[in-house]
């Protein structure tokens, strides 16, 4: 019951590696956070995982490249890739312009619902970013 309630929340959740997740039924949509896109600057290339590929939580699944840096993307949940944002091939800058909407990276069918509990909510993530900035 409680789990169902949890899954129906559209609240965005966050990983310590600055990925965000939105849960919708069996699928999690994943992208990088505003903090991450701002740190990277102009994104010029996005390498996305293959559809159907299976990954465990924290596996490297792709990369985001900006002018100044390469940054690996890790999946915050275990599961199977069901969809990738092909618009990013032509317009990688969507990650800078709209990281939480049009700039999403991939959708995954998660296999371990318990892992969702380990992610941070908005408040906890903001606190986490603030700490990172202040430390």
């Amino acid at each position: 019951m409680l789990m169902d309630f949890f899954l129906s929340l559209t609240e965005r959740l966050y990983s310590e590696k600055h990925e965000w997740v939105e849960i919708d039924g069996k699928l999690g949509t994943i992208g990088i956070t505003d903090y991450a896109q701002e740190a990277l600057g102009d994104v010029v290339y996005v390498q996305l995982p293959d559809i159907g590929a299976e990954f465990a939580k924290d596996d490297e699944v792709g990369a985001v490249e900006s002018v100044k840096a390469a940054s690996e993307v890790y999946t915050p949940l275990s599961g199977t890739i069901r969809e990738v944002n092909t618009k990013l091939e032509e317009k990688p800058g969507l990650i800078n312009k709209a990281c939480y909407t049009d700039g999403w990276l991939f959708k995954l069918e998660y296999s371990k619902p318990d892992e969702i509990k380990s992610l941070m909510n908005e408040g906890a993530y903001q606190e986490y970013v603030k700490k990172a900035k202040d430390s």
Binding site: H18, V67, K68, E72, A132
Partner: protein
């Protein structure tokens, strides 16, 4: 996400490798600050540690690409005060600097400068630097921030050795007293002309002079590290903010602050080496494509450190590897430092990337690499292996973007 700042700027000892780079910047520890530190912060500079100093990598209103284009089309101001400025005085100053470098300083005209190298006994490069023979009885030397400690040691040790032989030399580092600004871009001469009372048309590339700017005694050298026309201006610390403001206030075209990010993409397009990435103590000038820095007079005298190895590479046995430029033939991720370069025929590794980025001017990925001499010819097709996928590149001439230095008319 694991965050790596462009491999090219990775030479810093404490390279930040996570998104917590803002944490690094606020964890100021023992990193130095230039006189413009507060000014950069007020102007939205994102500060990162580089060469032991907290320096702006980018400013909030301009992305690296914006800043890069601003420099190519108008002009930008870079704070390069982290670099080591040294004055060498004394009757034997030329003997001193020539004993450490490959330059013919004696043969320079008054107020002319040259790019040169500190070499070691194995023919490796300890640092790259600019030496200017001023008409005021001193040499003006600018070397890399990241090499500060070893450069100071090298110079002090040699100073002691020469002094013990009764030579007349003294050195003074300007770190505590002087800042250094680079004003770079096609409008740089107009911008600077508004603040100096001599005609900049008479000052060619690599020539230097002292002058008054905003009432301060400064040294202006027509040089830079972007491939554009421009100037490096050595300024007393107490006046640097005022002069920076004065340059930014130029009314006829926009002048903007630019950080290390754009400096890196600009120098890479210009085919210029970043010490620690593209050259270091294990690369010889010949391998690095810097043979031209070894002056004729010095080759004849064969009196520089590592001369036996370097001259042998020039005359008899060319080195087995060479620094080359690469251009991507397809879109894809930029090949950055440490990426393996493969021969497409054999799929064997023939070299590695030392610097790489998406070129904002060319809108294609460019890189520098050391590869086997056999595959170093312009036009040779090679593969770069990035995260297990291979992308086609082609050996390209450098600079990737034509240099715009203000050269004297050809006679």
């Amino acid at each position: 996400m694991a965050y790596r700042f462009g491999q090219s700027i990775r030479t810093v000892k404490r390279a930040f490798r996570s998104f917590h780079f803002s944490a690094c910047l606020l964890n100021e520890g023992n990193a130095g600050r230039t006189s413009l530190f507060e000014f950069h912060k007020r102007n939205g500079g994102k500060m990162v540690e580089f060469g032991g100093y907290l320096m702006p990598v980018v400013y909030k209103d301009l992305s690296i690409t914006d800043s890069h284009i601003q420099t190519r089309e108008r002009s930008s101001i870079f704070d390069v005060s982290h670099m080591l400025q040294t004055i060498v005085r004394g009757e034997d100053r030329i003997e001193f600097i020539e004993s450490l470098t490959v330059a013919d300083v004696q043969g320079l005209q008054d107020n002319q400068g040259t790019l040169t190298l500190f070499t070691n006994n194995n023919g490796g490069i300890i640092d790259d630097l600019i030496v200017t023979k001023t008409s005021d009885n001193f040499l003006y030397v600018v070397s890399n921030a990241g090499c500060r400690e070893k450069d100071v040691d090298l110079m002090r040790t040699q100073l002691k050795a020469l002094k013990s032989k009764g030579k007349d030399v003294s050195i003074e580092h300007l770190s505590e007293s002087h800042s250094l600004l680079a004003l770079q871009g096609p409008t740089a001469h107009k911008v600077l002309q508004s603040l100096v009372n001599y005609n900049l048309n008479d000052q060619y590339f690599m020539f230097s002079r002292s002058t008054e700017i905003c009432g301060a005694y400064c040294r202006v050298t027509r040089c830079g590290y972007t491939g554009e026309d421009g100037f490096e201006i050595s300024i007393p610390n107490e006046k640097v903010e005022e002069i920076t403001e004065a340059l930014l206030n130029y009314k006829e075209s926009k002048v903007a602050l630019a950080g290390l990010g754009a400096r890196d993409t600009l120098r890479l397009e210009a085919g210029l080496c970043l010490y620690g990435n593209d050259i270091d103590e294990t690369t010889t000038p010949v391998e690095a494509g810097l043979t031209w820095t070894i002056a004729k007079a010095r080759r004849q005298r064969a009196d520089f450190k590592g001369a036996n190895i370097i001259l042998k590479q020039i005359k008899e046995s060319p080195p087995s590897r060479k620094r080359i430029g690469l251009r991507a033939l397809t879109t894809g991720p930029p090949a950055r430092g440490h990426v393996a370069v493969l021969d497409p025929n054999t799929n064997e590794k023939v070299g590695s990337i030392t610097s790489g980025c998406p070129s904002p001017s060319l809108k294609q990925n460019i890189a520098m690499a050391y590869v086997s001499t056999g595959v170093s010819k312009t036009g040779t097709k090679l593969l770069c292996d990035i995260r297990g996928k291979q992308y086609e590149y082609e050996v390209s001439k450098m600079p990737f973007v034509p240099a715009k230095y203000y050269m004297p008319p050809k006679k």
